[in-house]
């Protein structure tokens, strides 16, 4: 497969895939192209949606798929992909890792061989990159987890994960903004409201943010609610 790869997913949307990898370099390219589209939109531009290694651009008349395809190609050629590294927002998110919230703690300890303290230490040691928001409104896909903390998804998804649950799966970590079924392993809970339908832009996090988890006690959690 040659990259970047451009293809339509609808008459009104084209996807540009920079790679088939989950890494920050590909994601930087995605975010840079997104910023370029927003700073200098073509006529008929609607919005662009970032994912791990791809950007999907939505458009309407007078833009056509052919014209947008050409537009994307010329923008990618002219942009200096290595140079620009714009400042990301740094966001601290308090997380209570108390075992009463860490529904899947036992399973995670068993599959990783780590104790509770080591799991918390690894989850809070480094900043994570927000790759994209999806699955649910406000659900941030973050990474990359240290290899030692990688776990498989649950074979049978939980039917109802409480809102604010902080979970891990594979190289990723995320926060459930609302009660939802889900297959990720829950290791804690945040009092921060991740999605607020009353307050634009609704989602607490956005792609490109850098997130640092801070461990808090159960009483601190309650005081922050």
């Amino acid at each position: 497969m040659h990259y970047p790869r451009i293809y339509p997913i609808h008459d009104y949307a084209l996807t540009i895939e920079f790679s088939n990898l989950i890494n920050e370099a590909s994601h930087q390219q995605v975010m840079q192209l997104k910023r370029e589209m927003e700073d200098n939109p073509f006529s008929g531009y609607v919005e662009s949606v970032p994912a791990y290694s791809s950007l999907t651009v939505y458009f309407t008349a007078p833009a056509t798929a052919e014209r947008v395809m050409q537009e994307m190609q010329s923008r990618m050629k002219s942009s200096n992909t290595s140079a620009v590294h714009t400042a990301s927002r740094k966001i601290e998110i308090p997380v209570c890792y108390d075992s009463s919230f860490a529904i899947d703690l036992e399973a995670v300890m068993e599959s990783t061989g780590l104790d509770h303290e080591a799991i918390v230490q690894m989850h809070t040691a480094n900043e994570f990159n927000v790759y994209m928001i999806g699955f649910l409104p406000g659900f941030a896909y973050m990474g990359t987890l240290p290899a030692a903390l990688e776990t498989a998804r649950k074979k049978t998804p939980s039917t109802k994960i409480p809102p604010g649950s902080v979970a891990i799966a594979g190289k990723q970590t995320g926060i459930y903004p609302a009660a939802s079924p889900g297959g990720w392993n829950v290791i804690g809970r945040t009092p921060v409201r991740m999605f607020d339908p009353e307050r634009p832009p609704y989602s607490y996090l956005q792609a490109g943010d850098r997130v640092q988890f801070n461990p808090i006690s159960l009483s601190a959690y309650e005081s922050l609610l």
Binding site: H2, P4, R5, I6, Y7, P8, I9, H10, D11, Y12, A13, T15, E17, N20, L21, I22, V46, E47, S48, V49, P50, A51, Y52, S53, S54, T56, Y58, M69, Q73, M132, I133, G134, F135, L136, P137, G138, F139, Y141, F195, P201, Y202, S203, Q206, A207
Partner: protein
């Protein structure tokens, strides 16, 4: 002008052409399942294409008009009765205060759209429950009403008429045109053959987010986790079990299943009129030629 929902039927919501610009926050576009019928209903009323209409699935909707009201109803999935008399689709209808509209079973289509001049007030996606009061800013002008013949029962229709659209019959097989998807080449030859030659049935487990299809299992050559990418209405994803799901209006913004194909946008309104139990067959819309852009084969 106001209307009281007496019974919402199977599922009735307010819809427009969707909320755009928020997908990066994980907020789906939503909007009418059959955008073409929604737009037609609005155009009959002289509205913007994006005005709010009632989308009602199958039958069972009962609404009572508290004032003189002008309406246009498009789509299908039901037959229309106003005060017990058959009423037409695709025309302007005028009803007097106290009239009742009821939708009753039909074997064609799945969703009807009810528009009124000025558009309904509310937000896209609002669910209409019993005793919900619908209203519109505009009062029908007497000029607009002048063209309308008033029947003995208290409703009449104007001369405006939109062309009737083909509606899938529950006893027939509907052909839906597709375009090969970004992961088409990951599927086996058997899967390609089955996908384009065997019928699928819309599962009962289908909704505005997606149509799950029952039929032959479609398998990939190598099971390989895909990196999630944005998805949108019309995309046909295939689960690890080999079951296809066609994403519809309330589709999530990001998906991680291989995309065998997408429904051509021309046939999305037709698919939106297929109901659980409807049989469909996919037909390839484009001949397989190398795509001129960046050497990508579609």
């Amino acid at each position: 002008m106001s209307v009281t929902i007496i019974k919402p039927g199977m599922h009735s919501t307010l819809q427009n052409l969707g909320r755009w610009g928020l997908q990066a926050f994980g907020i789906p576009i939503g909007g009418a399942m059959n955008t073409e019928s929604a737009m037609t209903a609005n155009r009959l009323c002289g509205n913007e294409d994006d005005a709010l209409v009632v989308e009602s699935t199958l039958h069972g909707l009962v609404m009572e008009f508290n004032d003189l009201t002008v309406l246009a109803i498009t789509g299908g999935g039901c037959r229309l009765l106003i005060n017990g008399e058959a009423a037409p689709f695709n025309r302007l209808i005028k009803v007097i205060a106290g009239s009742q509209l009821k939708t009753i079973p039909s074997e064609k289509g799945c969703r009807c759209y009810v528009a009124t001049p000025g558009g309904w007030k509310g937000n896209t996606g609002d669910v209409l429950s019993a005793s919900y009061i619908l209203s519109s800013e505009a009062t029908p002008s007497t000029d607009a009403a002048a063209a309308i013949v008033i029947g003995a029962s208290g409703f009449g229709t104007g001369n405006w008429k939109a062309p009737e659209k083909e509606l899938p019959d529950v006893h027939a097989t509907t052909t839906i045109e597709i375009i090969k998807g970004p992961e088409w080449d990951r599927f086996t030859e058997d899967a390609h053959h089955a996908f384009l030659n065997e019928p699928f049935t819309v599962s009962a487990n289908s909704d505005r987010m997606g149509y799950r299809l029952n039929g032959p299992s479609l398998h990939v050559i190598h099971t390989q986790e895909l990196i999630s990418t944005p998805v949108t209405r019309g995309i046909i994803q295939v689960t690890h079990e080999g079951d296809p799901i066609v994403l519809m209006a309330d589709a999530q913004t990001i998906g991680g299943y291989p995309r065998i194909a997408r429904v051509s946008s021309k046939d999305l309104p037709l698919l939106a009129q297929c109901r659980p139990g409807s049989r469909i067959k996919f037909a390839n819309f484009f001949v397989d030629i190398p795509h001129p852009f960046l050497g990508v084969r579609m």
